[in-house]
Amino acid sequence: MSDEIKFSIDGVEIKAIPGQTILQAADAAGVYIPRLCAHRQLSPHGSCRVCTVKVNGRPQAACTQPAAPGIIVENNTDEMKAVRTSIVDMLFVEGNHFCMFCEKSGNCELQAMAYRLGIAAPQHEYLFPSRPLDASHPEVFIDRNRCILCGRCVRAAKELDNKNVFQFVGRGIHKHIAVNAEHGLSETDLAGVDRAVSACPVGAILRKRVGYSIPVGERLYDKQPIGSDIEADRSSAGK
């Protein structure tokens, strides 16, 4: 194709089509750039910064930065890994994430990211915030203790479910996910099967009564590290 864009990630040539972000082009080529707020079916958000790469020497969010001809992207370098480790580390200490007991454990992207980055224990101090639970909905509950403010629920509700259920309120450390109703989730038109529910990467929005029904060993990230589905595409994408 004449309008094909070529650039490199860690020295590997990547082809992109105009309009693709660096992250989308990397995914298509089977190169994994870690991310939490980005989701294939949702518009880019650029908020978590886990996908930070260096583009021609400058840090950029790969999920929002367009692919451009000839750019040199640094992704899987020690420097970028250190940046991501630090970000993920902060996400852990800002909330109350107790993987050992959390029902999302093994299926949680934050936990899987920590494993992939080799984070055994956070370097920063835990803040132990006190955040409320919303269990009013018959099928879904929100545990804000585990929210990483990725905004996926906000976008999935709007873009995939065509509903206006979630929004962010507050600023800085007080920023949190709110529902578009006065008395909690039960007053919204959210349904248990909505994409906004399954889009949550962590155990903050969960379908009720599912709990620990998948045994240890059978959960998504028990079997493969996060990102390996993308990397598995590499050989076929290269053809």
Partner: protein, 476 residues
């Protein structure tokens, strides 16, 4: 979420000494003694508002020593919350296997690491030798057996709960996995050896008690009531049953009580010197209604054991007291090993049961608002009581752990030792040793009590009748 609890409490427990106070009257005679156990009620607050299906997993953070017991007791309560009175055979048997695995590893750990040094070297032996390292040096095969038996129990827990600690196997209404053929065969391969070691451990405990019967009778021995779960036909059942309480002579105080009504039969009293609540049998009252739980109570109170080797061992045990309840604190060790063998027999039976490969794992029913789950944990009857609102959130939780029930018996045991070994106000090494051995018989779930390598960290104080400390000494 009061997250502080999670981080701070275990640390405090690990570092804390068990505190014992011995009280003297105005003539300097021992009146009583108290073991001060700081019980962590924080969990009951922590789970307020949490979704009920989370509890069988999160409750395990309460106790690093028998998490599986809490896992199962909570799951049993949550079965009822989701309206399931009877599990599928696969679910019930998987849970039983998990429980016997836990019982097996807990009893093996206690016997080989904590109790055997006392029995093999004698209570007065130098603490430098009287520990698990000493056992390993003098009886290397025993130390190895202890490790291998513990590991075997943990493998069973892993195969049934998913992980060796903090597994997720039991879920409201059932279990999340069955036992694969590969898992079954790996466990079956070792069961004969485990059975042989269990018999040998039982023999050590039995021989010791029979050979030292006079010592055992004179050491921290006192009459008490006993409480346990019991099967409908009177058999020992560590996983499920109804409540039975017997008095010191073996007469039934109550029997076959549905434990959903436990609060009509057992009450709790808070005493000012301890955070711990003291449970007692209502019909007898707070003064004398205390009771023992755990291996001694279970062997005393059951009519029979439904596995042949353990039943033969039970008969020998009961013969020592002419069929009447055995009140020796040191009898706990023997009773514990009878249960170890019983667990091994049950494990063997279950591993050969094709129901464990069944596919029917979870049932559903009509939601309820309140339920009680009981189980016989390694250390005794464990009560879990919950209320859950219409939003699926826990609104009330009451736990009675076995160490709480055994608190008064442990006070009596220490008191009896103090009366015998304390002269004046000076706390001798001998007194410290004997206090330690007496408490250890009950296998209390204090982290300090399972301090595997050294001695139990204990601080003993002698107080006069005005509450002034006359002397204080700690193990180091």
């Amino acid at each position: 979420m009061t997250a502080k609890k999670i981080i701070i409490e275990p640390v405090t427990r690990v570092e804390g000494h068990g505190k014992v106070t011995i009280h003297l009257d105005d003539k300097g005679q021992v009146t009583d003694a108290k073991l001060h156990i700081v019980e962590f009620r924080g969990f009951e607050r922590f789970i307020q508002g949490r979704p009920f299906w989370e509890v069988p997993v999160t409750i395990q953070r309460l106790c690093g020593i028998c998490p599986v017991s809490h896992h199962l007791a909570a799951a049993k309560a949550m079965d009822l919350i989701v309206g399931v009175d009877k599990l599928t055979p696969t679910a019930e048997k998987m849970r039983r296997l998990m429980h016997y695995g836990q019982m097996f590893q807990s009893h093996a750990l206690h016997f080989f690491h904590l109790c055997s040094p006392d029995l093999l070297f004698g209570f007065d032996a130098d603490v430098g030798i009287r520990n698990v390292v000493g056992v390993a040096a003098k009886y290397p095969e025993l130390a190895v057996q202890g490790v291998m038996m513990r590991r075997y129990g943990q493998e069973i827990i892993k195969a049934t709960a998913g992980k060796k600690i903090h597994g997720t196997g039991a879920i409201p209404g059932g279990i999340n996995k069955n036992l694969s053929i590969a898992e079954r065969d790996a466990l079956l391969k070792e069961i004969d050896q485990q059975m042989a070691w269990s018999k040998a451990a039982l023999k050590i405990a039995k021989d010791y008690t029979v050979d030292h019967l006079e010592l055992a009778k004179a050491f921290a021995s006192f009459e008490s009531s006993h409480l346990t779960l019991i099967r409908e036909d009177g058999a020992m059942d560590l996983y499920h049953g109804n409540l039975r309480a017997i008095d010191k002579d073996g007469n039934r105080i109550f029997d076959q009580v549905n434990y959903q009504q436990y609060a009509d039969y057992i009450a709790e009293e808070v005493r000012d010197y301890s955070y711990m609540e003291f449970p007692f049998i209502r019909s007898i009252g707070p003064e004398n209604g205390w009771y023992r739980v755990g291996p001694l109570a279970r062997v005393n109170a059951c009519d029979f054991i439904d596995t042949p080797l353990a039943e033969a061992a039970r008969k020998e045990f009961m013969a020592v007291t002419g069929g009447k309840p055995n009140h020796l604190s040191l009898g706990y060790h023997w009773a514990r090993m009878i249960e170890l063998l019983h667990s091994a027999e049950k494990i063997q039976m279950l591993l050969n049961d094709p129901d464990l490969q069944g596919e029917d794992l979870v049932l559903k029913g009509e939601r309820r608002g309140e339920a009680v789950g009981l189980i016989e944990a390694p250390r005794g009857t464990l009560f879990h009581h919950y209320k859950v609102n219409e939003n699926d959130q826990v609104t009330m939780c009451n736990l009675i752990v076995s160490t709480t029930s055994n608190n008064e018996p442990m006070n009596r045991a220490v008191s009896s030792v103090a009366k015998k070994y304390l002269s004046g106000v000076e706390i001798t090494e001998g007194l410290l040793n004997h206090v330690e051995v007496a408490i250890r018989a009950y296998d209390p779930c204090l982290s300090c009590a399972t301090h595997a390598l050294g001695r139990m960290p204990l601080e003993v104080s002698v107080l006069d009748c005005a509450g002034n400390v006359l002397s204080r000494k700690a193990t180091n």
